[in-house]
Amino acid sequence: MAVKQVNPTRMELTRLKKKLNTATRGHKLLKDKRDELMRRFLEMVRENRALRMKVEQALAKANGNFVLAKAAMSDETLKAALLAPKQEVYVSTSYRNIMSVDIPVFDTETRTPDPNDIYSYGFAFTSADLDDAVLSLSEILPDLIKLAEIEKSCQLMADEIEKTRRRVNALEHVMIPETREQIRYITRKLDENERSTQTRLMKVKDMMLQQAHGY
């Protein structure tokens, strides 16, 4: 592996050792984070799938009801019936933190507390099928909101997991080995320097002895 050029000094060595220490600790932490995120994610995604299947089935049924309702009355009447809705749904978003991912929590509120306000029309000119259709749809609404919450959370967590995994891999396969390599290089260089000083000193000592005493 190509080693980046580093100064073979003691100061650099201490710095690199510290860096390696931090990297190893960071790697361990990130790995734990990834594992925990994954566990939560899998739990959530399972719930997501189940809920989605349920909602899709219910929606298909509600849509069927609407088609039925439409068949029983004219287009104009239907449009007029649904033109001015009485009810309004507000959603307030708060955030919950799961392993540093902010996942949304949706709380819904309706404008009026009366559950019958979903029928925005007089019952005289519309078919009973429309009532059924609207009712079936309103029954799904809480699940739909929940689905939005869970699905968005899953998307956000998937994103975070991918990021964390990249970081873990970068630390594990690039940063840590590279730093180790650099540390090894410096240690060797320092050792070599020390040996060369040692031999030089021995040589000088020999020469001085030769000069002073003749041996």
Binding site: R52, A60, F66, K70, V89, V91, V134, E151, A158, D159
Partner: protein
């Protein structure tokens, strides 16, 4: 912070939601529809946007952009034209992204 919920799709699929008090937006394929959807996503007063699968097919690019954004939550729902399975495959994509492969393959 009180936000609204938007429903985007063809007329038949979404007008029922209007009765419940969600805001319906009729989507028609083309530049105008895309522009409307873009504006809807940027509009901060909508925190959930339901999109019918049929509409989502042509809005794929826009939806993808908001996958990793904290808001809004764009959720696919089946329309009257039937269930294309696009919603579930969106879930599958999340799994693939996180795990590396689809482990709920069934």
């Amino acid at each position: 912070m009180s936000n609204r919920i938007a429903v985007v799709g063809d007329k038949e699929s979404i007008y029922g939601f209007a009765a419940l008090g969600l805001d319906p937006f009729v989507y028609e394929e083309g530049e105008e529809g895309t522009l409307m959807f873009k504006r809807l996503c940027q509009n901060e007063s909508y925190s959930i946007i339901y999109v019918t699968e049929a509409a989502a097919m042509t809005l794929d690019k826009e939806i993808e952009k908001y996958r990793s954004a904290p808001s809004p939550a764009i959720i696919l729902i089946p329309g009257v034209s039937g269930n294309t399975g696009e919603g579930l495959s969106a879930v599958r994509r999340s799994v693939e992204k996180a795990v590396g492969s689809d482990i709920f393959n069934d």
